[in-house]
């Protein structure tokens, strides 16, 4: 029914899909890799799905020498190569009408005057009532100046009312606690926290979103989801590639900053959080923050006991010789940047007391695979598990994030035949095969959420800083140790011996992915 002028009764019941308001997305770094490979294909697919606002504009903004036509050509190429659905000429013709480009360096006032003027020209023609999203696909060092210039140019509207202004910030949010705080402060000088969307594309993945549903939409898991029944949890993010062309960034970052501080800790939060009392952004994010606050600090001499870092050495990748990290282009020959981290940590609250969480991430591993595996405690050593020399395999609930998003549950069953022989079998569910529809790319979901103003899947400032506090303890310990050498693991293997020892010390073993 028609209640107020601002309420749109015609959108009620249309679908569960968010219905965003007409808006302009300004992509800072619009000519870059992320824009071409992910953002433009994502927006195109949203349009094909009919969930994009009817009236929208996409404006690329960068120093690159491009014009509207060049930006449209870049978008076409990006969609042809990276879109999950093929380019449809008719649809693209409509899409590209809404693409524009403004050229200019991010640190010059004149660029923002030109951007503002162009937006004022574009938006009425596109039917956009001034709602703007600034997507900062720029290095962290440029973010502060972008915000400052936007503010100076009067391009940020107050957080209440309409039209809205929102900002999307790509990781990394800082390089340590101090720089993260400084960056957050710079963003906060221009934007209210409710306008800020810190993106972690892992949180847009179907399995990660599904984890909450698995936990809280099924009666059978949540009662077991605690220290009474869970033996331990393993979270793995394995990459196949080496450092590639990102040596400049990676040398400064390393695996702990690049993967653990954001993706892995976010996965840990979704796994360990208490049931939220509502699925609203702040309630969910409050509960995730609590996990970070309960994470036992690892500092001083504990770092050696609980954390393993390593570098990949020479080895094979799909049968081809590949160099070790220190021999990669752009890497210093005596680099101590870690390409692998394994951590044993604990969430010190009532639910998880004493349950170890094993986290690991690395480059040049045998295959690209990310998963969360919850391993349950063994059955008592009687009946089928009476033979101490051949203990039964434990039940494992594994949630695969990539590739082949899905989940599996390992259970013990009896092999057919007169003898009593127990065999572990895997009940396997894959999104790609159970549901015929293609899952949207993470960026599609996340961009749609920003357009609709839903921050549930985005990191809040306090959570980012809490994760940096935890990680910075480890970083500082490493710095103080002054180590000039890291353990090596051959490229194409699952990590160093030290990581095996880390988990074996607890009579457990890493899962083979």
């Amino acid at each position: 029914m028609l209640e107020t002028a601002s309420h749109n009764p015609l959108t009620v019941g249309l679908s569960s899909t968010l219905l965003p308001e007409p808006c302009t997305v300004v992509i800072f770094g619009g000519a870059g890799d992320l824009s071409r490979r992910k953002l433009l294909p994502a927006i195109y697919n949203l349009m094909l799905d009919g969930v994009l606002p009817a009236n929208f504009a996409i404006v690329g903004f960068a120093r690159t020498d491009l014009d509207d036509a060049g930006f449209r050509a870049l978008a076409r190429k990006g969609i042809e190569t990276h879109s999950r659905r093929p380019l449809d000429e008719r649809a693209f013709a409509d899409f590209e009408k809404n693409l524009f480009f403004v050229r200019g360096p991010f640190d010059e006032e004149g660029s923002y005057r030109a951007l503002s003027k162009r937006l004022d020209e574009i938006e009425p023609g596109c039917g956009v009532p001034g709602n703007r999203i600034y997507y900062l696909s720029v290095p962290p060092s440029a973010m502060g100046v972008c915000v400052e210039q936007l503010q100076h140019a009067g391009m940020i509207r107050p957080h209440e009312g309409r039209p809205f202004t929102r900002i999307i910030v790509e990781k990394p949010i800082g390089n340590d606690l101090a720089s993260a705080r400084a960056l957050n402060a710079a963003i906060a000088s221009g934007f209210h926290e409710s306008q800020v969307f810190r993106i972690d594309h892992y949180l847009g993945k179907e399995t990660v979103q599904s984890l909450m549903a698995i936990r809280f939409a099924n009666a059978i898991f949540e009662p077991l989801w605690n220290q009474k029944y869970v033996d331990h949890v393993q979270i793995t993010v394995a990459e196949e590639e080496g450092v590639g062309t990102r040596a400049g960034y990676y040398e400064e970052a390393g695996a702990l900053r690049d993967m653990v501080q954001n993706h892995i800790l976010q996965l840990l939060c979704v796994t360990a959080m208490e049931p939220p009392w509502a699925l609203t952004a702040d309630v969910v994010r409050d509960h995730k923050l609590e996990v970070l606050q309960c994470l036992r600090p690892i500092a001083g001499r504990d770092v050696e006991r609980f954390v393993v870092r390593a570098q990949y050495g020479p080895g094979f990748h799909h049968g081809v010789d590949v160099p070790g990290y220190r021999r990669e282009a752009g890497v210093t020959p005596d680099s101590t940047t870690e390409t692998y981290v394994a951590i044993r940590c604990f969430v010190d609250n009532w639910r998880w007391a004493g349950v170890p969480f094993f986290l690991r991430t690395g480059k040049r591993m045998p295959r690209r695979a990310s998963e969360i595996a919850v391993q349950f405690k063994d059955v008592p050593p009687i009946l089928f598990n009476a033979d101490a020399s051949n203990p039964l395999e434990s039940n494992v609930l594994a949630l695969r994030i990539q590739p082949d998003e899905g989940l599996s549950l390992r259970i013990a069953t009896k092999l057919p035949g007169p003898k009593v022989r127990i065999y572990p079998v895997k009940m396997d569910f894959r999104y790609g095969t159970t549901f015929g529809d293609q899952s949207p790319e993470a960026y599609e979901r996340l961009l749609l959420d920003v357009m609709a103003g839903d921050a549930t899947l985005f990191m809040r400032r306090d959570a980012v800083e809490a994760s940096w506090i935890w990680v910075t303890n480890v970083l500082e310990s490493w710095t103080q140790s002054g180590s000039r050498w890291l353990p090596e693991y051959p490229a194409g293997t699952w990590g160093p011996l030290e990581a095996e020892k880390l988990i074996q010390a607890e009579n457990r073993k890493w899962r083979t992915l």
Binding site: N8, L10, T11, E21, G50, D88, R90, C126, G432, F435
Partner: protein, 376 residues
């Protein structure tokens, strides 16, 4: 099977018809040893999210169904029971075919669904529901796709029995020969249904892009005051689309609080209805084109705004798009992809729905009121 290309659908079936009682056994054999002419040695994944019972009352209309079903199960793997009745046949006969329909998913895995076709001649057609009942997989949702071009309740006992075993009934009001009678029959059935059956009209699903675009275009942020001030709607459609038009108008009326007050059949091919909104009278005119497919071609919505008469025109463009333009500002024209609106795609999208759609039910009620007004 191994030569199926990525995304291609391939069917392997037993060459000979089998006795209905042997269906489960033959399906089991198909999975366990590939059957006589069935699945080869390549590993396959049997996937099943639902039972899908497809009813077709005339063998002559069953032609496109196997292909459509294959596309449905690619998106929503199911055990499919295709029931083909031929009540007018002289002989009495009931026979079954079983097959596995597979497509190649990523990583070389083949995903297969079970398809069972049961053909009934003559009096045996009455046995189709009971046969289907015995072949449903337990503990899975069951949907009935009613394919005849007549309203499901007109299917009498067969529909009654099949709908009892299904929690979800899918039908298509597009193409009904007598739309007034059809809409009233379905609305009556829905009102009397006490088993919480999910009802899906594919015509309602086809309206989704129209509804989305109308909703977005008339959003208060873009067209302040438009929703409250609409006073005229004109819909132009092809033949056999009247139930769909009623659903579109019914949706607007329901969401905007209009009350139907009168209907008029004007000479030629135009129908008119009057509604009462909070601001006054809303005139709805519906014009049927003599030729073409049964789609909505054009919707014009007008209102009195601060700048005088304003309006938006929504036009079907080609096969896959709906375009909109605002009166006086042609530069704001926008196009929305309608997506794949084939029957198979629509059924596949409806199958995962496990909840009733109250808005559809409410809209159906207004459709009934509009239809009944024409009888007076």
């Amino acid at each position: 099977m191994a030569d199926a290309l990525d995304g291609e659908v391939e069917e392997k079936r037993l060459a000979r018809p089998i006795d209905v009682a042997a269906v489960e056994r033959e399906l089991g054999r198909l999975w366990s040893d590939g059957g006589a002419n069935g699945i080869d040695e390549d590993p396959v994944t049997r996937a099943c999210m639902s039972n899908l019972v497809v009813y077709c009352g005339d063998p002559r209309e069953a032609g496109p169904l196997p292909e459509e079903i294959a596309h449905i199960t690619e998106r929503h793997p199911s055990r499919v029971l295709l029931l083909v009745g031929n009540a007018g046949a002289q002989q009495m006969d009931l026979e079954a075919h079983v097959s596995a329909v597979c497509y190649l998913a990523g990583g070389g895995r083949q995903i297969c669904s079970e398809h069972v076709t049961i053909s009934a001649q003559g009096e045996a057609a009455r046995r189709l529901p009971s046969t289907a009942r015995s072949l449903l997989i337990g503990d899975l949702p069951t949907a009935l796709w009613w394919t005849p071009a007549e309203p499901p309740p007109r299917g009498a006992d067969v529909f009654s029995e099949l709908s009892e075993m299904a929690g979800h009934v899918i039908y298509d009001s597009e193409g009904w020969p007598d739309p007034v009678q059809g809409v009233v029959a379905v609305a009556d059935w829905a009102a009397a249904d006490r088993s919480e059956t999910i009802l899906s009209d594919l015509a309602w699903r086809r309206l989704k892009p129209w509804r989305r675009l109308v909703g977005q275009t008339l959003d208060p942020a873009l067209a302040p005051g438009a929703l409250e001030s609409i006073d005229e709607v004109v819909v132009v459609h092809g033949p056999h689309a009247l139930p769909k038009v009623w659903l579109l108008i019914g949706w607007l009326a329901r969401r905007l609080g209009w009350q139907p007050i009168a209907a008029k059949i004007e000479p030629g091919v135009e129908l008119a209805w009057g509604f009462e909104s909070k601001r006054g009278r809303v005139r709805v005119r519906v014009r049927r084109l003599a030729e073409g497919d049964s789609s909505i071609r054009r919707v014009e919505i007008s209102w009195s705004g601060p700048r005088g008469r304003e309006g938006a025109t929504f036009v079907r463009e080609g096969e896959g798009f709906v375009a909109v333009s605002r009166e006086g500002s042609p530069e704001t024209q926008r196009v929305l992809a309608r997506g794949d609106l084939s029957r198979a795609a629509l059924v596949a999208r409806q199958l995962p729905k496990l909840f009733r759609d109250p808005l559809f039910r409410e809209t159906l009620e207004i459709s009934r009121t509009m239809a009944e007004a024409l009888r007076r």
